[in-house]
Subunit: 352 residues, 2 copies
Amino acid sequence: MGKSRSITGEKAMIAALRRRLPTADSFKFGIRVGIGDDGAILDPPRGHSIVVTTDFSLETIHFRREWHSPESVGHRCLARGLSDLAAMGANPLAAFLSLALPAELIKGNPSWRDRFLDGFLVLAKRFRIPLAGGDTAQSPSLAANKRTNGLALADIIAIGSVPPGRALLRSGAKPGDRIYVTGFLGGAAAELRQLEANLRKFRNCKSGPTENPNPHPHLFPEPRINVGEWLSKNRKATAAIDLTDGLSTDLNHICEESQLAATIDAAAIPVHPLAKKTDSSGPLQLALHGGEDYELLFTVSPNLRIPRIISGVPIAPIGTMRRHTARLPRILLIDEKSQKSALKPGGWEHYK
Amino acid sequence: MGKSRSITGEKAMIAALRRRLPTADSFKFGIRVGIGDDGAILDPPRGHSIVVTTDFSLETIHFRREWHSPESVGHRCLARGLSDLAAMGANPLAAFLSLALPAELIKGNPSWRDRFLDGFLVLAKRFRIPLAGGDTAQSPSLAANKRTNGLALADIIAIGSVPPGRALLRSGAKPGDRIYVTGFLGGAAAELRQLEANLRKFRNCKSGPTENPNPHPHLFPEPRINVGEWLSKNRKATAAIDLTDGLSTDLNHICEESQLAATIDAAAIPVHPLAKKTDSSGPLQLALHGGEDYELLFTVSPNLRIPRIISGVPIAPIGTMRRHTARLPRILLIDEKSQKSALKPGGWEHYK
């Protein structure tokens, strides 16, 4: 009861984390007390605001153990949090991980947990973000569930900092602003379909060096931290969001929060090569509704110039923000034949 | 897949939270962007350190829906986070809640979720801590589990601030320091036994006005925020921890982190009246090992005086820190007949 601090395996986990984590002073910001006290102490840059974001990674909802390698689950768990920081233009300070696992996943060498942490910590190291604390617990056991004694449940908390007034919000877009996206869209949905069709091929998939286009946009999405920081630092973007639910849904969020509408040019959307190979549904559909690409969508005043590449990531202008009127749909899509249609928030289906 | 932002009921939840939450400027610190953007922006007091803590509240591990009223689950969820801040001497800034529920718990008026949030927000309001964000998701459905389609899963993130160098750590105790505890011990374990024996009696239990001793130490534990802040502000405590796992286990944490040992006077331990009524096991056993009292244990230099009451909470001296030697056990318990015994970390049993 309330004993998550002393369950079997927790001391071992704390000890394992302490061993594996770099010392505090190898990071940008001092974490004076991390794993092992009642809380962690962070010293954000003086006068900066703090950005906080939390995201669940729940087995069967956000991943499947049969589908995703443990390294992919760990990477995706942290990437969800970092991508939110990127969308706010924040500089990552620290990550916290609440992790509940069934006993079977902490057995073996390496255990599922070890491989999960590998995936998590490889990404953390790349962005020099310390895992500063969290909670561990035994996953609720479900005797009636024959497949497993419990599910893997994670919650990632990502904390960043941003100079006062520099955070990128969803609500700041202005009529006439140009709409941009980073990288390529539809790749995550396309790779998920490949995964479904051939689980064995991806079973031991680990992340490789960062490339554009990302060869594993679903299994190892790349949070666009550097682009977000660049946009905030150079005061370029009026609004931003990360593409988790799909372009059609997330652009709708920007429209709603900014009380505007948008027109999108289908031919300008950078479709991921994996989506172009997909024939079961149109590549454009995957790029518009696929979701989980973790690319950034942002809006910029038409008076400002945006480079074609920021921090190695291609940037594409795809449309324009405009006032919302009864005459036109919230999001107007203009296709390659100049035909106009309404783009409804489509998003992506849950695992059934 | 990764669609926790757009699942059924989430928009309703965000809307419900926005309606129910006080506006930002009614709180001590401005939360400029909370629920509804990619992250929340907090402005901590200038130059202060940030304290971050996360705690799971998982059905069947930390609570049972048949045992705990939804208000109790919500209260206990937040209390776990606030108690960690109290143990660090931090001033609460904001709370974040990741909450995954099965569909059945968001139906009805009031739904289980509404009552959970009531319990959560009543406590939040008392400490003027805003619920600034979080995540929501559908709970993983477990078709094989007949009792339910899924379990209620929560993760609380509590963020506080503390002036530089003033945080209360577990590692700062010195030989000769006096050991103190707040309030009364063993009450939570005693009430849990009452609960087991008579579920119906507690089904609709809501929290009442704050009292000492707390009439519902298990269902509505009181985080000792004010005492923690007082200790930090007045530079009184050398180390502190909250009693989640039981005095015997948590004092052992202080001993280990401070590389010391301790001697405890059994007669000085403030046993909760509910524990005194328990006859199935000795009241002292509940006070020593019961856990979940969420009282503070802290150490103070023998040269400093500690009032008997801080912020309305009784304070009791119960022993002394000393150097660890091979001659004596890590924690020595002296009973009422001056008999000495080793106090081993006992803790409390999980739900089976």
